[in-house]
Amino acid sequence: MWSFFHKLSSPKYYYEWSGKWIPWLGGITILLTALGVYWGLVIAPTDYQQGESYRIIFIHVPAAWMSMFIYMVMAVAGFIALVWKTKISEIVVSECAVIGAVFTALALITGMLWGKPTWGTYWQWDARLTSELILLFLYLGVISIHSAIEDPRIAARAASVLAIVGIINIPIIHYSVTWWNSLHQPNMELVSESPSMHPSMLIPLLIMAIAFKVYFGWLLFIRVRNEIISRERSTNWVKKLILAS
């Protein structure tokens, strides 16, 4: 186990190892997304209260989960980057920031498009909405550190500190609807005797959640591999790889 992680910290090994995963992740993403979208838009019944607009949940909630999940991955990578100073973890921090920002923006936009027909407003300075917006700014902060500091290794150190400190926002987002009065509905109880969601709607939601997770792995691997090639361009193994292609 430990030796596997040790091996993964070598750019060459990581490049070869992640390359094997990419076609699988891509295939699973496409299959699950097609299934989840069809189930969510066609098979799943209309909601008793919100009618058809609730169907936005099948992308909004998975995207919002991803926005927090990717942040935690980024913070863990930042922690490893600060303590063990491995190149791969530094790259993972910068690539997670881009993908996380995309998912956070999507969660915010789909949430606004859901808010208008249900609440009656696109935006409200509600604790949940505001803390999710702060999450977007944290991602943008990590991205801008990387573009502002030329030396990628120094940039990675500053970005990792921001990533780790910003993790405080994650429990705030999650509990915002419990701690404060908010317009946003409370968290769903998915694991309980009477779940908040009928199984006919819960299944497509979970399919989409898994599809987004696999998509994240797929895109992350592609982006990390690109960055490895870019940074290791003067090494022999990259030269060989490119001559062979």
Partner: protein
């Protein structure tokens, strides 16, 4: 080498603890501002500065909705199951507005103690189910999700 790594670890932990404390204190100090709305109980007990615009949230009391002659003004009572405030609103209500629905209204109290709203937003709950299931729940005598007062009201 090992002690250097350890130092970095300790540095990160101290950093994180420090920022958590700062964030917790900051949020605690601002908790009134983070509350999006106040409950009817808070308003009636005078905990809310009523000379300014503020938001009030609760459930629309069943049977209390009265439409005005102009077709645009609606009057209803808003409750948090403990206390009630009368609300008046002129304008278009959101689709989800109905009796027993959770709503958030922004406005001001007038001299008669009526909350004159400028904006009414519907606050839906976290329950999702097909209409048949909702109807079956209602018929079986189990509490309808609409009617369960949420702790946040």
């Amino acid at each position: 080498m090992r002690t250097k790594r350890k130092q970095r670890l300790i540095f990160i932990v101290i950093l994180l603890v420090g920022f958590s404390c700062a964030a917790a204190l900051g949020l605690y100090a601002m908790r009134q501002n983070i509350m999006l709305f106040h409950t009817p109980s808070e308003v009636n007990s005078g905990e809310v500065a009523t000379d300014k615009l503020f938001r009030i949230g609760g459930l629309v009391v069943e049977g209390s909705v009265v439409k005005g002659n102009d077709g645009l003004t609606t009057e209803f009572n808003l409750t948090d199951t403990m206390d009630t405030v009368e609300v008046r609103f002129t304008g278009l209500l959101p689709d989800l507005y109905r009796e027993r629905q959770g709503i958030v209204a922004q406005g001001k109290l007038n001299d008669a103690g009526v909350f004159v709203a400028q904006e009414v937003l519907a606050k839906h709950d976290e329950n999702y189910m097909p209409p048949e299931v909702a109807a079956a729940l209602k018929g079986s005598g189990a509490p309808h999700p609409d009617s369960i007062p949420k702790s946040s009201y």
